[in-house]
């Protein structure tokens, strides 16, 4: 078995694909039309974040249904239930930020999310229900593992020429996600992960990075096409 803590193994795997996302993020945040990209980015984040609590609840329920004797079942379920409470209403925060940009709640909820988001998020529903709910830890590790920085967000906001109200959720996550990342790492390190669960986490993390990068590229393509 590897001498590295489980969290270091997963973070090390994510690092192998980080440049895929970093290259897209650089194109995105330095784009001359960044002021128009931001509302689309917030809609993308909302498309994903609206699924966070339902997925955490599904993952907790699936963990509770694992066969007796599965050593990761109880700590996984406890973690997912706790984190579901922490993620409550983040989708509403985003709708409020988008309202500050003149986007109505009705318009946003009626708009079709990208199939790429469905593919990224939907894969985790599959893994939760049909493989093992531990896979969802990889989704969280990717999306909470590199929180934005407040100074960076302020720089983007100025270049975008948008009001601070549009960035409230992103700024809150700059403060919250480092704690969520540390909690997740502690949870990972305490789990009795088997080699097959490690492999599942790796594949799930790679898939998440790929779909997020694809979704950001789709937005860029609409503004560059």
């Amino acid at each position: 078995m590897s001498p590295l803590p489980h969290s270091q193994i997963l973070r090390g795997k994510i690092r192998l694909v980080e440049p895929r996302l970093a290259a897209v993020a650089r194109r995105f945040w330095t784009h001359p039309r960044v002021g128009e990209l931001v509302p689309e980015f917030l809609f993308l984040v909302h498309s994903m974040i609206r699924a966070s609590v339902p997925m955490l609840e599904a993952a907790a329920a699936a963990a509770r249904r694992l066969p007796p004797g599965d050593p990761v079942a109880a700590p996984l379920a406890d973690y997912f239930e706790k984190h579901a409470r922490e993620e409550l209403h983040h989708d509403e925060w985003l709708l409020a930020d988008l309202a500050a940009l003149g986007r109505s709640r009705e318009e946003l909820l009626a708009r079709m999310p990208s199939p790429t988001v469905a593919a990224g998020v939907g894969a985790h529903y599959y893994w939760i229900h049909h493989v093992h709910p531990a896979a969802f830890l990889a989704y969280l590790a990717v999306l909470e593992g590199n929180p934005p920085e407040v100074d960076q967000l302020e720089d983007i906001r100025r270049r975008a020429g948008l009001p601070p109200e549009a960035f409230r959720t992103l700024v809150k996550h700059a403060h919250l996600d480092p704690h969520h990342r540390d909690d997740l790492d502690d949870t990972l390190d305490a789990l009795a992960l088997t080699p097959s669960l490690h492999a599942l986490l790796g594949v799930a993390a790679f898939h998440t990075v790929e779909r997020v990068a694809d979704a950001m590229e789709e937005i860029l393509d609409r503004f560059e096409g």
Partner: protein
């Protein structure tokens, strides 16, 4: 431990150079499953050189590249 993972990832340009890897990075790569290695190679093959420069690889650390902010939860 799957043998040959590092060679395969270098050949596929997921990793530029085995020499540049730390001990921990080697441990992570050597512990990858076949599914993980295949997924990594598949992701790399979809990247054009316009996205990742010919000199770069998925595993390169480029200070010019900034991951943040990406989607947050």
């Amino acid at each position: 431990m799957a043998s040959g993972n590092l060679d395969r990832l270098v050949e596929a340009r997921v990793v530029t150079s085995a020499d540049a890897l730390s001990g921990a990075e080697r441990t992570v790569i050597e512990g990858l499953s076949e599914e993980e290695v295949s997924t990594l190679i598949g992701i790399r093959q979809k990247l054009s050189d316009a996205v990742v420069s010919p000199a770069a690889s998925l595993a390169d650390e480029d200070p010019e590249l900034d991951l943040k902010p990406n989607v947050v939860l």
